[in-house]
Amino acid sequence: MTNRILIPSALRRIARSGDSVDVEARTVGEALARLIDLHPDLGQHLYDEHGKLRSFVNVYVNDEDIRYLAQNDTPLSAGDVVSIVPSIAGGAPNVYAVDGLSPAEVKRYSRHLIMPEVAVEGQLKLKRAKVLLIGTGGLGAPAGLYLTAAGVGRIGLVDFDVVDTTNLQRQVTFGTRDVGRSKLEAAHERLHDLNPEVEFVLHETRLTSANALDIIRDYDIVVDGTDNFPTRYLVNDACVLLGKPYVYGSIFRFEGQVTVFGAKNGPCYRCLYPSPPPPGLVPSCAEGGVLGVLPGIVGAIQASEAIKWILRAGDSLQGRLLLFDALKMTFRELKLRRNPDCPVCGPNRTLHELIDYEAFCGIRGEEVENDVSVPEMGVKELKRRLDANDGVVVVDVREPHEYQICNIGGILIPLGELAARVHELDSARDIVVHCRTGVRSAHAVGFLQDAGFERVWNLRGGIHAWADEIDPSLPRY
């Protein structure tokens, strides 16, 4: 016995069917089950998660609504026509009802609730949202504080670092008493105090190719508060593969950048930077410095973009790279376009899974600060030779303002001036080169070797190692 089901135009498109489908069934329930067997995509639009017919989906047998017959058990006779009929409903955001917010939340978020652009609807969107914050430091501190204060329902925090005194100049989540504590633990304590309504998920781990997809999968949007190239490419690729938007921020000295990458249709980080810069070319904040308030501004803009994305309010920075210069106090914008040849988001993409990003960026990770391919000398050995006064020459390739903070009496030749001043050095003598931690000086040693110097060493661990092992009175920076 065959019955015809009439399909409304919208569902025809989903089912890729004609305006009717013929099925064999004894009851309406059976007929609809057959229909969903044939066109599984229709299931979620007809039934809710509890398997009940959605309230705005009406089913008629001939001219009768089955609600007034025997519902799904309504028997079908030969030739009966089943129609799926939507009742079309909707309406403006409901600013009066506060379903889903407790009286305490209504009070806490009242400055949001009185704005029509947010209102109860928007606050509930925030409450339902799940945001992953990668890194709780420079950018993560302000972003975490504002996302928490705004009432994002679930915030995942990723960090594995320990609070250091040098962090306090900008990482405002942490206090002096937190020095030496796990950043994750200290951030969680502070954020929970700021807003106990928020659920925090703590990921005490470095984000890697092995865990990134599993961690990011559970969130709606990612805020990247890290500042190194391998993690950026990793976060970008993982977000593109998972179709999640990710709010990018970067800071250096007085300048910052913000945009939204990775979302559907948008450009991604690889569209902007197809390949990473050679290692060592772009100094990190630890090497180049950063104005303490800069991550406050950039991180707050990242939080603002994440919140707007959740509210679907205003114009996103997606497709626009915001450039901020704190010295000139200017904001500029560059248009970002999708790269049709992008290996991860282009139509002919070649990347289908995560790769080894530290190898991709030509480094073994941030901690490995020494380039082992150049000869090295330890601080104790240097101390012995200086005490013996055997003619060893110490060259300091840091900047003059760093030399002012502390030095061990070496000849100051900043790395950038080395090529022009190489003639000041005597290649017949033993030369030990140092910087702050050994990264820049490794480049300097490589350069000197290329220039024909044979007796040249990199001071392992730089002036920091000297302060640790030889002269604790030297300030560390």
Binding site: S9, D65, G90, G91, A92, N94
Partner: protein, 156 residues
């Protein structure tokens, strides 16, 4: 993309202003210009103003097109060789953004055109007259481009 003539847009705004402070609603009838395109390209050829079946108290922030009215609209479209492409409704004194209620009650594929009416004056594209399509996972609306019939871009 959904293409509407300036006359259609004016009619929708007019309907929204007349219904103020209540919500107005109606159907968008027409043809699919490019069935293969994702998202679909829809050409609106006729509007059908519907009656808001909510009672007066609820009608200030809710609309409902009853199943009976829907069946009439489908029949009307079929008679003219058109199909139902979507629906329009107004948000009195609220932005032209879909609400959670809109999302929960939305059908896939249909265009949901929203016009904001503030103090009785209906808004203009791109900010105060917008169009939206439910995402495949039902979790969200994607904005839909509103364009004039000649194919040029008018507004989002």
């Amino acid at each position: 993309m959904i293409r509407l003539s300036p006359l259609h847009l004016a009619s929708i705004r007019d309907h929204a202003e007349r219904a103020y402070p209540h919500e107005c609603c109606g159907a968008l009838l027409g043809r699919v210009a490019d069935a293969g395109a994702v998202p679909a390209v829809k050409d609106v050829e006729a509007l059908h103003a519907a009656e808001n079946r909510r009672d007066a108290e609820a009608a200030a922030r809710r609309f409902l097109i009853s199943p009976e009215d829907y069946r009439e609209i489908e029949a009307l479209a079929r008679e003219r060789g058109l199909e139902v492409l979507g629906f329009y409704h107004s948000h009195p004194d609220h932005p032209a953004r879909p609400s959670e209620y809109d999302r929960e009650h939305a059908f896939p594929w249909y265009s949901y055109l929203i016009v904001s009416v503030r103090g009785g004056r209906a808004g203009e594209p791109p900010v105060d007259l917008t169009s939206w399509v439910l995402t495949d996972d039902r979790n969200d609306f994607d904005p839909e481009l509103i364009a004039p019939p000649d194919g040029g871009t008018q507004a989002r």
